[in-house]
């Protein structure tokens, strides 16, 4: 439900917009904060998982008898320990299949068995004693290969959904999506210039530094506790309970501090396994993934193959845009974000004729899971590369070409709905006027830019706010704090109550203490859970005013709340000394007992988000090595609650995008095995690779939030891929259509261009 109380643009904030210290700061700089792997329980066992060495294999049988006999082994589990309780829910069935293979192992690293033992050494030894009889099957990891008619089919019951007529032959194409409006063919006929290009991007991993960890304790009576690092402990509770066939209320999940997620911790992997081991052993069991397991069996995002065609008139108006987006989803249907890629690809433009077709494609890779603005960065890379090329062909400055065709209020978006107030134009204008845009470039340097979009959403949140007798505040929220959200929650509550930030403390409640909260995803927490905090504070204010009214013997509506005090609403209400929050709280035992505010809802009206990025890159023409020399992020935040953490989201997203553009990739061998499952060979950006990342926060209020807040977490990863590709093209004169643009690939591009130039000259 969108709020009626749209933001008051003249409102002066006391706390929102300042930069206070985060409440969990000291815990996190002293090593005291407890992350997933830091928990222990009395008598806990070590859980370890046996994983498939094959990319695709039928599991004929699993013999665990020798492992079970090993001294110190307390439980061994396989697919047989997960009877199907999913009741026709195909998504849940696939999740269960992913955490423990059933008929087939579908990718290298797919879990096939697990043990719980008294020591790590015994657990390791036990895994070696488990005999799995595999029938190795042909595999496919490349998205284009997987779509070929002769490709090995992963699921012979898979008939492409969304095509007419329904196919008669099973294939790896799970679903086809189509979005758009107008008539693209007619639009292309009106075009003076058309650019058509194909692109490929490799899968990348979210790359959180903390591997998944879970400590489970389950009793034979079906009651259970779980401690784990996740973006959504309510999701973990619901999914685990349903997989294990127990009542949801019997499982209590406590969320540890979380060492990064970026979408990768929005599902379960080891949690149901730890619970099942604990149930069988009747002892607490702790499972912690290794980095190798994280790369092979969690994440990643899709690898893609895309075709883009855009036509323009010679005055620079886009007449038609058409794109095809093929995304890997791993071995299960509906897991790739192909639809979000297709929906977001052209969202930054005002288009009369647009079509985007998405394909969700199965292959023998780990099950694809969300990664920050899922699906959008790769589509944006393809589209914004073509846009830059068109601008050059037109002889127009790319920024002016983008401004001319930018989506604005009233534009029908490429995915359908008509935009309300949006901040794209403002980010483009700000980019054009930014000093970075006019700064001189050095030798071998090039500048690129791109604009990007993400939807943002709200979702379910539940907040409880308690006022102890000294008038300080505790706020219980159910959204895991991944990047400082406790601070923002406290700030919004302090703002509403008119008290100091230091009077408010937020905690992340466990699943038994608070109503359901959706996963921290979709850039929803500061928006949706933050708004629930505001509304819970308003609920508390109502109760505080009622206590003051009762004390004074006047009607409740004759009392108002101002800067931390209850006051008579006007002269008619009577002449009473204002009562402070502290005074009302101190009197609460005698005036009706404890005072608490609550709010629970499903938030909507999140407001879409746009960003424009500018990047300068220097290329060593001899080696192909690249160096980002300057980078600027300009994004609309609606209203920045804690500007430091908003800047942090901008910078972090940009740098993940830089890694994606330049170095990060899943490299598969011919055997379908991942060849770079470690941080040495899967190279995420390090400190010495980068310059400072400049940020500019624009504040175009979101009408769906009382302060105008928009989500900011995801959009920042959308433009970097294209901005960098455009900068590389400017520096080298070569257009790269495949990511990552690693040094060998850039060098080859430069050498090929030289050779074909020499050929032409000859």
């Amino acid at each position: 439900m969108p709020l009626d109380n749209a933001p008051d643009s003249k409102r002066k904030y006391n706390v929102v917009g300042t930069r206070p210290l985060r409440p969990d700061g000291i815990d996190k700089v002293t090593g005291r904060a407890k992350f997933g792997a830091d928990a222990t329980a009395p008598g806990q066992l070590v859980g370890r998982i046996l994983r498939s060495p094959h990319a695709h294999a039928k599991i004929r049988s699993i013999d665990t008898s020798k492992a079970e006999k090993l001294a110190g082994v307390k439980a061994v589990i396989t697919r047989d320990d997960f009877p199907d309780h999913t009741d026709g829910d195909s998504g849940l069935y696939d999740t269960m299949y992913n955490i423990m293979a059933r008929e087939k192992a579908l990718y290298e690293g797919h879990a096939v068995a697990a043990v719980a033992a008294t020591t790590p050494a015994i657990a390791r030894q036990a895994l070696k004693l488990i005999k799995v009889d595999y029938e190795v099957l042909p595999h496919v990891t490349d998205v284009d290969d997987a779509m070929k008619s002769n490709a090995p089919v992963l699921n012979n019951k898979m008939f492409t959904d969304g095509v007419d007529p329904k196919p008669k032959k099973a294939s790896n194409v799970a679903r086809r999506f189509e979005f758009g409006h107008g008539d693209v063919e007619a639009g292309f006929k009106r075009a003076d210039i058309i650019v058509e290009r194909s692109f490929k991007t490799e899968a990348t991993h979210q790359g959180y530094i903390e591997p998944h960890a879970a400590l489970a304790s389950m009793s034979p009576d079906g009651s259970a506790e779980l401690w784990c690092c996740t973006q959504g402990h309510y999701m973990v509770r619901d999914v685990c309970a349903r997989i294990l066939g127990i009542d949801i209320s019997r499982l209590r999940v406590t969320q540890s501090e979380i060492g990064g997620g970026f979408g990768g911790k929005t599902t379960v992997f080891i949690e149901p396994v730890a619970l099942a081991l604990s149930r069988k052993a009747n002892r607490p069991v702790k499972v912690v993934m290794t980095r190798d397991e994280v790369f092979k069996a969690t994440g990643p995002t899709s690898a893609t193959s895309m075709d883009i065609k855009i036509g323009v008139t010679k005055d620079g108006l886009i007449t038609a845009a058409d794109g095809t987006f093929r995304y890997t989803g791993g071995p299960f249907a509906g897991c790739s974000p192909a639809e979000f890629g297709a929906m977001s690809a052209f969202a930054q433009f005002h288009l009369d004729n647009v079509r985007a077709i998405g394909y969700d494609v199965l292959c023998n890779r780990p099950k694809t899971i969300s990664y920050r603005a899922p699906g959008a960065p790769m589509a944006n890379f393809a589209v914004e590369s073509v846009i830059e090329e068109l601008a050059h062909k037109l002889g127009m400055a790319p920024i002016d070409f983008r401004i001319k065709n930018a989506a604005r209020e009233g534009t029908r978006s490429s995915y359908g709905p008509v935009y309300g107030q949006i901040g794209l134009g403002a980010t483009l204008e700000a980019a054009k006027n930014h000093p970075h845009f006019k700064a001189p470039l050095g030798p071998n340097q090039g500048r690129g830019m791109a604009a990007g979009f993400w939807f943002n959403f709200g979702g379910q949140s539940c907040v409880s706010l308690n006022i102890p007798i000294d008038g300080t505040i505790t706020v219980s929220v159910g959204s895991p704090d991944i990047g400082g959200s406790r601070a923002s929650m406290c700030m919004m509550v302090a703002e509403e109550l008119g008290i100091g930030y230091d009077q408010v403390r937020a905690i992340i409640a466990d699943t038994s203490s608070l109503g359901h909260n959706d996963v921290t995803d979709g850039s929803r927490t500061t928006f949706a859970t933050g708004m629930a905090c505001i509304l819970a504070a308003r609920d508390a204010i109502k109760k505080l005013c009622a206590r003051a009214a009762a004390t004074w013997g006047i009607p409740e509506d004759a009392v108002t709340w101002e800067k931390g005090y209850a006051k008579p609403a006007g002269a008619n209400a009577g002449n009473f000394q204002p009562l402070s929050l502290k005074e009302i709280a101190a009197a609460s035992p005698g005036t009706g007992g404890p005072i608490a505010g609550h709010h629970e809802y499903s938030a909507d009206g999140a407001g879409v988000s746009f960003a424009t990025h500018i990047c300068d890159i220097e290329i060593d023409q001899e080696t192909g090595a690249s160096k980002i020399v300057r980078y600027t992020v300009i994004q609309d935040a609606g209203k920045a609650v804690h500007p430091s953490y908003v800047e942090g989201q901008f910078q972090g997203g940009a740098v993940q995008g830089i890694g994606w553009a330049l170095n990060e990739e899943y490299i598969y061998g011919k055997d379908g095995r991942l060849q770079n499952a470690g941080f040495l060979d899967y190279r995420i950006p390090v400190c010495s690779d980068l310059p400072m990342i400049d940020t500019m926060i624009l504040e175009i209020p979101n009408p769906g939030h009382p302060y105008g807040v928009r989500g900011v977490g995801e959009t920042s990863i959308v433009p970097p891929l294209a901005a960098i590709a455009n900068a590389v093209a400017a520096a080298t004169g070569v257009r790269f259509t495949q990511l990552p643009m690693s040094p060998p690939r850039i060098l080859k591009g430069i050498e090929d261009a030289k050779a074909s130039g020499a050929k032409k000259a000859a």
């Binding site: 007529p165 709905p417 309300g420 979709g522 909507d604």
Partner: protein, 81 residues
């Protein structure tokens, strides 16, 4: 009657139309009638849809009221990172 626009690949289930008109007071009613009129859409509705009503996206919000002239887009269920 609210105007409902389905994404292109659902066309086979709506007799080739991308826009259909449905009489409904809220999203829940709209989805129910949509499923009754076009049984082929039931699978997708069960799998999860989000809607946009007059430009605003609702991930859930079954009880969201519809105006007689509302423009409703059926969208795949929103997810994020």
């Amino acid at each position: 009657m609210a105007k409902v626009i389905v994404w292109g690949s659902l066309k086979p289930h709506t007799g080739g139309k991308t826009t259909v008109e449905i009489e409904a007071r809220n999203v829940q009613e709209l989805l129910a009638r949509l499923g009754e009129t076009y049984p082929g859409l039931q699978n997708q509705i069960k799998r999860g849809v989000s809607v946009s009503i007059d430009g605003l996206i609702y991930r859930e919000g079954w009880l969201e009221p519809l105006k007689p002239d509302s423009e409703v887009f059926l969208l795949p269920r929103m997810q994020g990172g």
